[in-house]
Subunit: 457 residues, 2 copies
């Protein structure tokens, strides 16, 4: 949100090179607020404002800029100053950011970043996007178990500036293996025994993730165990980094958006909607639309085999959209209910029989009720009350078919190890459309005298 | 997940009343893990195991039980022991739980809860579900600004057991107004100056929420400012409670599920899928299905006005499902893209023109491509290559109509102050179905010689 109140003053301060006021502006508010107020500035002016802040403040405010602003600054501002800024950014964030900067500029910047940070960047950027390794940071406290409580507190106090969290302290052996964890809470609670060794306090039954684990799994663990941060280890249990709660919140948002898009048959975007090229979006939608389109083509073929019946009883055509959409809507409801329940862990695969039973009862009730409504309209649009009965019977069956397909297919996909959110929509929609046409035509042929006669039944 | 390995041993320990081993079992693992291992026990046995743990452990393990297990225990175990347990549960959790217990049992339990906890429960339970007040806890550190750094650390160390977080310390004046905040990070960083007053360290530019704010807004603020906890104040800025990061993660999961359900036209459930009565689910689906059904009924009426044309050119019927589903699928893709982008803040209302332009281009491309595929199938199913052109022209127009409706309607609903996720699906789906039929029939009448002649154009 651009706050227009501050902008003119800010521009004036810049024009007058008013160092005191600019420094004051950078420190007065929460850095997220300061960043918001600066949204209306061009990247060059924003960077000029930041040069008046000292490094920790500069890094904080910069972290809250929108990504497009951050990238413009990295690509245009004085290379040497940017090298310093990068060295002070949180290790996980700078890797994400550098991945998005023009590679030629990265090549120019790289030699200007201090050696230690450069090594750290190379190491972190070797993990693929979407894994624990790509999320983790190396800014955590790593202490020896023989340290005393007082010494440990002193140590984290001294390191506080470079640490992303001081609230968990990790204890490793000489080989770098994760041995245990002491929380700041435990340290503070034991201030009364300053000489106690932290090795005596540490918890050794730790929840950790492997560096190759999927970020969704990491988020689930942090949420389940109510953690502030989770350690990341390799297969030999070497401590490589930690993932903090704020990154977990970002992952959860990302995953929620991805799931919503998948449920609507859009391949998730890598960047935000407006920052993604329209052609990429078209492509990510097109592939699913084509699959859905082929399913819909089959409906055209199925209808063709009933062309004579439709010609003979012309009112049957009127209800084709109604029948198909009843099945499709109830099917997508069931699919979403089952998928969200599986995602949150409420429904497990072993519950399948309960789920199917519930969906059968729900389908029966919804189908019967919608059928009743359908009978009302069919009564008005068909030649006689008995013929009109085709519609409620069809709708009831189609809705039951929808709830069953919608609930069984996601569980089946999960059972096969596929992502239910990804696979369900096209299959559920396509199957129900085709099934709807076939059910409709079969019911009509069974119930309508004139069709029975013409087909010789 | 039930771990069958531990259960027989656990049952044996219970049968033998083996206090040492049971106590050991309760302390050996992370309480979340311990709770998982006990999932296979009946509530009575689970509670018996817990009685061997000391209170902090008992409360922790109990907190990780599934809700149905927690409720059974509260309703069946010894009332006096449950009163004590409730007194030690986190203030926000116990209110949520008691809201779900049979009111007669709450009446019996209430006098057995210590007075202070009882007052706290009454106060917290007065806030409506879904507000900051209902989420907040009163277990936070409230200190005076004249305390020294050393004294403050000592104080939170002593209180640690009853505090939900020790990582933020709140400073209030005598009137109970929120004055500032000191983080444990700041306290630890200033251990070198133990006599410094915390009033000198405190931040006074605080991000806070009002007690009546919606939980979604609270989650957004915490995520935006990367907070561990956020203070909750009333209109006079009295500090009433705090909301911690683990509750925020729960809110975000809840909201993501709700949005997904709304996008599929299901009214969000209050409990989990399997714990909601099938009739409630049927009702929450039925109301939206009925609205969608009325929209579909309009398609039946629109088709009726084209009945002669359909009778005359019978192959037109074959493509009705294809035309409708092309519009519906591309429309729901656009709606979900725009809704998720608005939810995450990537798209604001002022971006409407950019969004519409993008969707127009995307619709044109997708429509043209699907139209091409449609021409292939129409070529096979229609009598002559020129008639078959009706299908690509229709599909292109319908897909463009879908992308425009799907993107404009959610922004319109947001503009009108309505929840776009809630309103969009039925309207988008209904409008596109009807528009699809009308576009299809109009294109046919314009392009097909035999229809032009019969309608006298």
């Amino acid at each position: 949100m651009i706050n227009p109140l501050y902008l003119p003053e800010l521009r004036e301060m810049l024009a007058e090179n008013d160092a005191d006021d600019l420094r004051e502006f950078c420190t007065a508010l929460h850095p997220a607020r300061t960043a918001e107020f600066m949204e209306g500035l061009d990247p060059e002016s924003a960077w000029r404002v930041l040069t008046f802040a000292d490094m920790p403040q500069r890094v904080e405010i910069f972290s809250y800029f929108e990504e497009s602003m951050q990238l413009s600054i990295l690509e245009t501002a004085d290379r040497r100053a940017i090298g310093q800024l990068i060295a002070h950014l949180p290790p996980d964030d700078r890797v994400d950011l550098l991945n998005k900067v023009d590679p030629r500029i990265v090549d120019e910047l790289f030699p200007l970043i201090p050696l230690k940070a450069r090594r750290d960047i190379l190491r972190l950027s070797s993990y693929p996007e979407g894994t624990a390794g790509a999320l983790m940071t190396t800014g955590f406290a790593r202490l020896d178990e023989n340290l005393s409580v007082a010494a440990a507190l002193g140590e984290i106090g001294r390191q506080a500036e470079r640490l992303e969290t001081i609230y968990y302290v990790y204890i490793v052996d000489e080989g770098g293996h994760l041995r245990g964890l002491v929380s700041a809470r435990q340290l503070v609670s034991n201030l009364g025994h300053p000489e106690m060794k932290i090795g005596e306090l540490m918890e050794t039954e730790l929840v950790a993730v492997n560096v190759t684990d999927d970020q969704e799994k990491v988020a689930e663990k942090v949420a389940h165990f109510d953690l502030l941060a989770i350690p990341v280890v390799d297969h030999e249990h070497h401590l490589l980094g930690i993932i903090t709660h704020d990154d977990i919140i970002d992952v959860m948002r990302e995953e929620a958006t991805e799931d919503a898009l998948r449920l609507s048959a859009v391949d998730p975007l890598e960047a935000s909607y407006l920052n993604t090229h329209w052609f990429t979006i078209t492509w990510k939608r097109g592939i699913w639309l084509i699959i859905l389109f082929f399913a819909a083509m089959i409906t055209a073929y199925s209808l063709r085999s009933f062309e004579d019946a439709l010609q003979q009883v012309s009112w049957l055509v009127l209800f084709i959209p109604l029948v198909i959409s009843s099945g499709g809507n109830s099917g997508s409801q069931s699919a979403t209910l089952v998928i969200t329940a599986m995602t949150s862990g409420d429904v497990k695969l072993r519950d399948w029989a309960r789920v199917v039973k519930r969906e059968l009862i729900t389908g029966l009730c919804l189908g019967a009720f919608l059928g009743l409504l359908g009978y009302g309209i069919a009564y008005l649009l068909t030649p006689d009350p008995f013929s009109a009965l085709v519609i409620p019977v069809t709708i009831t069956l189609v809705v039951i078919c929808g709830t069953l397909c919608g609930s069984i297919l996601p569980m089946l996909f999960r059972r096969l190890g596929l992502d239910p959110a990804l696979m369900s929509n096209p299959f559920v929609a396509g199957l129900i459309d085709i099934a709807g046409i076939i059910i409709y035509m079969q019911v009509s042929m069974l119930m309508l005298q004139e069709l029975r006669e013409s087909t010789g039944n």
